[in-house]
Symmetry: C2
């Protein structure tokens, strides 16, 4: 029996990122960048107004300049032109003059500050086509409300590194630098095979000794959440030859996930049949509750039309649904993230923690992942293990949004103790 | 100018959940349940073994019973039969006898405990077809490794409430209770209209005064992240009649999201044209930085073939990409969640918080949402505002995985201060 960390190291070591593919920008969400992204422009492309307002010379607002003005003591400047979004200034701002500019517009030559629209009264005046701007403020400093050219991006700069997952912000940046298409890692394909003579399809009422196949739909949903494509192999029966045939089919995918048949029971054929198929066992059994019987192996070169370079990773998950779920969240998810291009070779980031809400008793020797409810309160994050009747109890899992992690050895935990957790939502 | 909380109340008040639709179980991921879900069975359907092992009478392990045995002092029991998954016991366990059972199997009559396989040596013995089980343990208590009938679910029980979002665990439970189809709230449709004469399509190099349309692809990705279907209306130009036509088209969706054209600038036509189209303004301007110019309105009865009951919600987001992004995350997302069926009428849950990583200066009067990097360290969650050059700077946003929330009034914040945040990933 190996530790969770050792098991993860094996999984990450054998998971080779998928080959690159080019996708249109709008299909890139959730993919991982295969290429570094460079900017083809400066942003902003010129000194730019950050507000709707008036481009001015700040020296027109120094005390001497203001004293030189007649009347109210407010600075008044003649408006030369108005520049709306998408257009560029045609005049230069000389002393005593201003240009009305919209947000994002090129700051006109001669101007070194922009005063917000709200601080200016626009007066029509005879003989002047655009009238006069009367400023309610005198506090104008050089550079105000101006974003200098290339503050955000400069041409040729690497703006996104490869291996970064594409979220809406990355899509905005890719659009900004003109990428209509982008090279990303492909999505992994996962073949799913729940096994067991006790399983009946969801649409049937289970007879004596039978249960419905809940692992199949659940694992498909887990795989989709991690961006994988799902190949549904149906239910595998505890019968060597048909099992061998359907498993061989599953080896055409990047990952074959089997549930059931990996404990020490009489009909737990899975490891044997996999060995027959040339799948090499990497580990069997992990110091984890629930999920101890986890089996992991690798098939080199047995796959048919798969792209060169990759092996098929094979996970034999325990048949109990919660064990199956926990093993997917901990191990299969990491394989999918790595196949999808994420760089997981760095030491895994520290886990989040929260205060335990109530006393909790951990039985058994293994590291325990207990379904729990994580809530934020005024006092911070609080973790409350849900009522849970063991690895067959799916009902407990639906109340959880985290797995509370208790170290090996079991024991008693007091409210307020800081507990690490694995978030689920 | 209203507060963020007031704005949210308005948005939630006007967002009416979509009508129910029936979807196959495998398509239900991410939807919100419209119906309560009841169990059609007990789970487990009978007292069930939690392990692969031997079903025994615990009284066979009491000290007197052990003394009565000859030889080593180990309890030895004759094996009556073996029951594999999917099958049911045919014999009763009498004293001195045991039945080998796999995980999930019905506990045979007469037995009241199961001993794990690992604690038992299986010996073949002449004259006995299945041989003898020799127990390495003497500690056997009534009920051990048995899950009593209906511990997890009982027939007729409400196992999932309506308004709950479907995750993989919910799919497992729906499968367990036989739901091949399930009634869920429909997905909202979002029409997207970035506006502005300065916008050019992503595939072009922007000329003087122009920028690429990054808001369109970004907002589409945001909408998809919240489970919406996207109707892309292209780029709206600052020209009243075409703008009116394309906005009218957008009002066929549940939500029309416009970006740009809502500030106080000369060509900010959006509010006027919307009013022409019968869209009633609910609010304009929110005490938020970035995002102050946010416009929100409702079109009652102007939509053509939409299902009865709903109005079209119209968001006019500021044109700057980061402002647009923040307004989507704060307001449009809540509308989509509510349209998708989530119950948001309860007081909003307390926000998470983290320690500030470094000194930070907040300028301006408004509540500020600053892009920040959230990391978990040994000492807990740490929030580090990213280098960010304002609402036009998308580059800053890609380094962030949270928005740090600073209250109105601005000021200086010290490292270690506890800061609320809005998670982004």
């Amino acid at each position: 029996m190996i530790s969770i960390e050792q098991a993860l190291e094996h999984v990450i070591q054998y998971a080779v990122p998928k080959p690159a593919q080019s996708v249109p920008l709008e299909k890139s969400l959730g993919h991982v960048l295969w290429e570094d992204i460079f900017s083809d422009l400066d942003a902003p492309p010129h000194d730019q107004s950050l507000v709707d307002g008036y481009a001015v010379r700040s020296t027109d607002f120094c005390p001497r300049a203001i004293r030189a003005q007649e009347g109210s003591g407010n600075v008044e400047l003649e408006i030369l032109e108005e520049v709306t979004a998408g257009n560029i200034p045609t005049c230069r701002v000389e002393s005593g003059r201003t240009i009305r500019v919209m947000t994002g517009v090129h700051v006109p030559e001669g101007a070194d500050a922009v005063v917000m629209l709200e601080d200016v009264l626009w007066q029509r005046e005879a003989g002047l086509s655009l009238g006069v701007a009367r400023f309610a403020t005198r506090e104008v400093v050089a550079g105000q409300n101006i974003m200098p050219q290339a503050t955000s991006l400069h041409r040729g700069q690497r703006v996104l590194p490869s291996r970064k997952r594409v979220r809406p912000a990355e899509i905005a940046l890719l659009a900004q630098v003109g990428r209509t298409d982008v090279r990303v890692f492909g999505r992994p394909q996962v073949a799913l095979l729940p096994t067991g003579d006790e399983l009946v399809d969801v649409g049937f009422l289970p007879g004596p000794g039978k249960i419905r196949n809940s692992n199949g739909p659940m694992l498909a949903a887990c795989a989709r959440q991690f961006g994988a494509e799902v190949l549904d192999l149906g239910i595998g029966r505890d019968d060597r030859e048909p099992l061998r045939a359907v498993m061989a089919q599953g080896l055409s995918a990047d990952v074959l996930v089997i549930s059931g048949g990996v404990s020490a029971g009489t009909l737990d054929l899975v490891p044997e049949v996999l060995e027959d198929l040339g799948v090499r066992q990497v580990f069997h059994k992990v110091n984890l509750k629930p999920g101890k019987p986890l089996w992991f192996g690798v098939a080199d070169g047995v796959q048919g039309d798969r792209e060169a370079g990759g092996s098929t990773l094979v996970f034999g998950l325990p048949g109990n649904p919660v064990s199956s779920f926990v093993c997917f969240q901990l191990f299969v998810s990491m394989a999918l993230r790595r196949l999808g291009g994420e760089d997981l070779r760095e030491p895994v980031a520290p886990r989040p923690s929260a205060r335990l809400a109530r006393p909790f008793e951990v039985r058994g020797d293994r590291v325990t992942y207990a379904p729990a409810r994580l809530d934020w309160t005024e006092a911070g994050a609080v973790l409350d293990p849900v009522v849970w009747h063991g690895s067959g109890d799916i009902r407990g899992l639906v109340d959880a949004n985290a797995l509370a992690i208790f170290p090996e050895g079991g024991g008693h935990y007091e409210p307020g103790e800081r507990i690490l957790y694995h978030p689920l939502d």
